[in-house]
Amino acid sequence: MERTVQAIYYDGATSKPQEATVRVREMNTLEVELPDGGCFQWPLEHKGMEWERSSAMLRLSFGDHPRRVLLIRDEPFIQSFVLRMRYAGRQGVYDRALAVARSGPVLFFLGVVALLICSYLWFLPWAAERLALLVPRTLDERIGEAAFDQMALGLPIDSARTVSLQAFGDAMELSPSFEPTYHVVKDDQVNAFALPGGHIVVFTGILDRMASADELAALLAHEATHVEERHSTRMLARSMAGYLFLSLLIGDVNAVVAMVADNANALRNLGYGRGLETEADRIGQEQLLKNGVDPMAMVGLLELLEREAEDMPEALAFLSSHPLTQERIAAARTRARELGTPQAPNDRLEVLFRPLIAAQPTEAMPSSAN
């Protein structure tokens, strides 16, 4: 930095630019000489001295408002100046990151993209779920209650079988932190679903196809696991975090990217749903064993779902979990073998199951289970 450069000087009093000659004195002071003979010195370490480097120039400013300013466009000078300030610890994180990025923009871009993808796929879902689990369980109950109140109006409840199903469910301990409330709905869909907080709805379509009490126990265990493990809340948190992440990234960029991003988020959530189904199978099987039911019943239930799915039209089958069901069946079978059979079978379930199948099976539209 032992050299002389030309600079533009603004004195802060008028808009008249002056050509100044800048010299570095003893590595820590800038000596500025003006054409009218004026001369002054700026100590580099002084707090009132600020510097900013943009892509084509160096801007130095000094003093209180209105600040006096020097603009330097001499690239070798700028580089040695920046280096000197870095050694003096006066280069911030941002400027360092920017310097790195400018030296290899393509590599930097690829690095950022890789980081973002990794955090979107792995870190974000993990963090979102951690946060979701901090939400009190009473909130699950309130959400579920509100959703059920709204739905119940349009659902044709089979009250007699609802009472029987409740008795059947109460004979097992499936969800330690919630009290499941069971409902039977007259509908030919081979389906059942659970709302957060404990409402579990079973359609007559699936009930009528049940071959044994164990299969029903498996269904309830699966659905109760969705409730117990708070799958809805976790899924909601993940999806919300996904949108937050994308909007954070895109900020004010543009609608096209936002559209692409929206669809990416939807795709990811599809995969996420499968993961949770498998978890519901696994924990459901463990619950079955605890309640005196052979975990192999889950295999029977999944096979029932698979049979129904086979009759589905081509277009729907593409979206359904058909090849996935095979995977789930295989996994459930392996798990059942590992878990073994219960020591004291729950005999009451068979008795409680009888009133539930009293009604004749009706011709039903096949569909997949949740």
Binding site: S15, P66, V69, L98, R102, F108
Partner: protein, 343 residues
């Protein structure tokens, strides 16, 4: 420079001028506006901003915004000299916190009402929100103009805004009401009255600006633009855009205390807008948004290169007059509510 990006022809001319010794670059075309930022560099700046914002879970946003604005100012030149943005992330962060506090206050009644399931409170809350947000608009315009102008300088002289908040409220309430009554027709007058007032109170040191728009002319311009755009299935939209740009630029002047003035003049054409926008859309769509910086730089160049300054006022004779105004709350509030200030 460090960046190996290839340089386009006109860039090469500018950059070679800039690389001359200091006394040379004062001889770039007099009284011309120019944008010298390179898209690759903007891309890197935006990328670093994105990375830091992401790592800090969004907290870095105010600093990123300051850096981005700074980049645009630094690469915009008038008469061979760059503008400078003095706003800092710290100022904007403070403003951001204040703005969030203010919004919470406005949303508070509504949120409490919903949580307590009190219908009355919810209704009151909605009213407070509605009225509150409407009343914010003049405040946002006023505060944002004061902040942005005070934090902008050229050749070391700061800009400033000396409008009165009271007057802005008067215009907004009167014209807003008339706009409601006339089902939006009076909106053209509202826009022009706001522009006349706000631009008329902008300062650059000892000089000031003037905008002499006319509500009726602006309304007819929009009516013509709208009808022709509909009839030509959207094609006239680019010429409508040109008319709006021309109306903005051609009515703007820069008044110097010695009585001399600089008149701004647009040289933009409808064809120019057409190719600008068409190519920008293609760039952004085909690069899935990655080419955003390139589209952005094309726009900046187009706009600045199509504003000519006519007049013989002495740009060296301006004296520093404006005080500093560091409160960024209104600016951040406008950001949060997505209200653009620069009418």
């Amino acid at each position: 420079m460090g960046s190996p990006t290839p340089v386009r022809a006109e860039e090469a001319v500018y950059l070679s001028l800039l690389r001359q010794p200091a006394h040379m670059f004062l001889t770039t075309p007099p009284k011309r506006l120019a944008f010298l930022g390179r898209p690759g560099d903007l891309f890197v700046v935006l990328l670093v901003n994105m990375l830091l914002t992401f790592i800090t879970l969004g907290l870095y946003y105010p600093w990123a915004k300051a850096r981005r604005l700074s980049w645009y100012y630094e690469h915009t030149e008038l008469d061979g000299h760059p503008f400078h943005f003095h706003g800092t992330g710290n100022e904007m962060f403070k403003g951001f916190i204040k703005a969030i506090g203010l919004l919470l206050l406005i949303y508070g009644t509504y949120i409490v009402g919903v949580l307590m399931e009190e219908v009355k409170l919810v209704v009151i809350g909605v009213l407070v929100m509605f009225v509150g947000l409407l009343l914010f608009i003049p405040l946002i315009i006023h505060g944002s103009l004061r902040y942005r102008s005070s934090r902008s300088s050229w050749r070391g002289i700061h800009f400033g805004y000396r409008g009165q908040l009271k007057e802005l409220y008067r215009i907004c309430l009167r014209d807003g009401l008339l706009t409601l009554i006339t089902v939006g027709i009076y909106g053209s007058w509202l826009t022009i009255h706001l522009r006349n007032y706000t631009v008329g109170h902008l300062r650059y040191g000892s000089t000031s600006f003037r905008y002499k728009g006319d509500g009726a002319a602006f309304f007819l311009l929009n009516l013509k633009g709208y009808l022709l755009t509909v009839f030509t299935l959207g094609i006239y939209g680019f010429w409508w855009q040109r008319d709006l740009f021309n109306y903005y630029v051609n009515n703007l002047s820069w008044e110097h205390p010695d009585g001399k003035r600089i008149q701004f003049r647009s040289t933009a054409t409808g064809g120019g807008f057409f190719s600008l926008m068409l190519v920008n859309v293609l760039i952004v769509v085909f690069t899935l948004g990655i080419g955003f910086a390139w589209a952005e730089v094309r726009t900046m160049r187009f706009v600045l290169e199509h504003i000519a300054l006519d007049g013989d006022a002495d740009l060296n004779a301006v004296v520093q007059t404006e005080q500093e105004h560091k409160n960024a709350m209104a600016d951040d509030l406008g950001d949060l509510l997505d209200i653009g200030v620069f009418i």
